[in-house]
């Protein structure tokens, strides 16, 4: 187990390093440089000072090393467009908002998704199955930006206490949370349904039935317990989807989270902010994947053993 843990951790670090490096290379292959590109009329002296300030006057290899060192020290540098805040400060301001939204959405997806999928499987090809499949087909078919705008148009405009956008009170979080949750919820429901159907056909379900325990006990203790494993294994992807969704949802609902900062930094071509947020997101996601993987091995006794052997 500890061997697997170390190996997995090493993989995560390597992946992170690859992402950081790709980010660096990509951002430095922008034609010209960020200042030359836009503000052609700034005086030469100012331009040179700007380059110096952002370390762009040094050779590329040196810039790369400084950049790596800064990331290890958790320093994402200065924003190119904002004079008042560093990238770190922006992340510190935006991330808690995004995290709250993301966690609420995750909670919704994790409570409703498996339940919907399990019920669908238990009533296969009957009414509850159709209802749950309609919900999940809408969930995977309607992109979150469409869902968000429709929620604003049809729900927020008609229900007084649900605001159209903004942030501050809890009621502000309701619609964006649901808009964000729908896609992962639908994916989880679909996965849960097929996994549940497969488990229900297994021999051990018949063994459980042959013991004379109640249908509820068969379903909860034997079927759901096993069927939920694949759902746990995709949690990393779910978090990643939530993150992408948050770019769009935060913009639509005017939520001042990291997603909105990220999208705005793209509009503004704030390269240090883009880099900083990308690396930050990558760290969050890679850690999530790592945690989910380790958690999964703890939940599934079979994997626990086989991975010890590696």
């Amino acid at each position: 187990m500890s061997k697997y843990f170390v190996r997995r951790l090493a993989m995560s670090v390597v992946t992170l390093w690859v992402i950081v490096t790709i980010t660096f290379i990509l951002m430095h292959s922008v034609p010209g440089n960020p200042f030359a590109n836009e503000n052609k009329n700034i005086p030469e002296v100012v331009y040179q000072n700007l380059l110096k300030k952002y370390g762009l006057d040094k050779p590329l290899s040196e810039q790369y090393l400084i950049y790596l060192k800064n990331i290890v020290r958790w320093d994402f540098g200065e924003s190119m467009k904002s004079n008042t805040e560093t990238v770190n400060e922006m992340i510190a301001r935006g991330f808690p908002v995004s995290a709250q939204l993301g966690l609420q959405a995750l909670l919704i997806a994790l409570i409703i998704g498996p339940a919907l999928g399990a019920i669908a499987a238990l009533y296969q090809n009957r009414f509850p199955d159709y209802i749950s499949m309609i919900v999940s087909i809408i969930g995977v078919s309607v992109p979150s930006f469409v869902m968000g705008t429709f929620l604003i148009q049809f729900v927020a405009r008609n229900v007084d206490w649900l605001p159209i956008g903004g942030w501050g009170e809890w009621r502000h979080t309701i619609l964006p949370s649901f808009a964000l949750a729908l896609m992962p919820l639908a994916q989880i429901a679909r996965l849960m349904r097929s996994s549940m159907l497969e488990v229900l056909g297994q021999d051990y379900i018949k063994t459980a039935k042959s013991k004379g325990i109640s249908r509820t006990a068969v379903i909860l203790k034997h079927a759901v317990r096993n069927a939920i494993l694949p759902v746990v294994s995709i949690l990393g992807t779910t978090v990643s989807n939530l993150l992408v969704g948050s770019f769009v949802i935060e913009k639509i609902f005017g939520v001042p989270g990291l997603g909105m900062f990220f999208v705005n930094s793209i509009y503004n071509r704030d390269y240090t902010l883009i880099m900083g947020v990308t690396v930050f997101y990558a760290i969050i996601l890679i850690s999530m994947l790592f945690i989910v993987d380790i958690a999964y091995t703890l939940i599934d006794p079979r994997i626990r053993l086989t991975k010890e052997g590696r």
């Binding site: 690859v18 990509l26 951002m27 995977v140 078919s141 992109p143 469409v146 509009y267 071509r269 990308t278």
Partner: protein
């Protein structure tokens, strides 16, 4: 024993061979692909998806020519018109005809999706095939690399690439978009192909066929292709909507296709801009079409997966 049967001596004669062989009533044997097709046809949702895709596909080809107006022509005397007799889907802020824009957008979106899926397929088959056939060591290294690439958050890299290759606010070229979509997308396909190759190299039924004297090409045709093609087909079908969705999300972040070329994503994003002033139709139509495209590919992919799964064979 029927009481009214009259037993005759002839009845107790030994049964002739013909009588015995005529007894072979068997259920009709159905070939693999026609069985898959039969089961797919039974799946109403998947068939609805297929029909919608065919209609959308045809419209994306002929739609732009059906309108009297081109997708880029701006008419400032006719801005933000609601759907009417001459502008079937209305016009946008710049007075461009939304009917031709929507269908052209559908065309570009479908093209991006299909191209991305095909490139994923190509890279995946080559990489996965090589890994599957190569020595254990090479295979292990190749798979480790793929694993690292796959755990790179896909959208982040897509966004970065699009940022780098687009000059401010002008959108991205189709080529870059497709490239960005495929950067990590090929990995599942490679895993799939590798897995199939490994499995088939060892599998009992190809061994069984070989021991029965089947030739390599026969095995390939009868076993390997049907077994590999199924999962790959499903994967391709499900990759297309993902790429279309990614492109739409990028458009939303102003990283989509270069104006005036429309994609469904840019159309929705343009529509969102005018939604607050009550022009809901501008977002409604492309939103419905993109949802229909996603819906159709998803249900078709699901239907294919179910139809190809021999365990579900009734």
């Amino acid at each position: 024993m029927d009481s009214n049967t009259i037993y005759t001596k002839e009845m107790f004669q030994k049964a002739p061979r013909e009588l015995r062989e005529s007894e072979t009533i068997k259920r009709p044997s159905i070939s693999y692909w026609s069985d898959v097709w039969r089961r797919l046809k039974l799946n109403k949702l998947a068939m609805a998806g297929l029909v919608i895709l065919i209609i959308l596909g045809i419209m994306s080809i002929i739609g732009p020519y059906m309108s009297d107006f081109s997708y880029y022509e701006q008419d400032y005397s006719a801005i933000n018109l609601r759907p009417n007799k001459s502008y079937w889907f209305g016009t946008d802020e710049l007075g461009r005809d939304l009917f031709s824009r929507v269908w052209l957008g559908t065309r570009y979106s479908l093209f991006i999706g299909i191209a991305a899926a095909l490139i994923d397929f190509g890279i995946g088959v080559i990489y996965g095939g090589i890994a599957g056939m190569a020595s254990k060591r090479v295979d292990a290294i190749m798979m480790r690399i793929a694993e690292v690439i796959y755990s790179i958050p896909y959208m982040l890299i897509v966004v970065l690439i699009s940022v780098v290759f687009s000059s401010t606010g002008a959108g991205t070229s189709m080529f870059v978009l497709i490239l960005a979509m495929t950067i990590t997308g090929w990995v599942p396909m490679a895993n799939l192909v590798r897995g199939q190759v490994l499995q088939l190299k060892e599998s009992e039924y190809s061994m069984a066929s070989e021991s029965l004297g089947a030739s390599k090409s026969w095995i390939l045709k009868k076993h390997i292709i049907p077994n590999t093609l199924g999962p790959i087909l499903v994967n391709v079908t499900l990759t297309i909507p993902r790429a279309i969705f990614s492109e739409a999300t990028l458009s939303f972040m102003s990283l989509g296709l270069q104006a005036p070329r429309p994609s469904l994503g840019t159309l929705v994003s343009d529509g969102l801009a005018v939604m607050p002033i009550g022009l809901f139709y501008q977002i409604l139509i492309p939103a419905i079409i993109i949802s229909l495209v996603m819906f159709s590919f998803n249900v078709l992919g699901d239907g294919l997966r179910d139809a190809l799964d021999p365990r579900l064979r009734k």
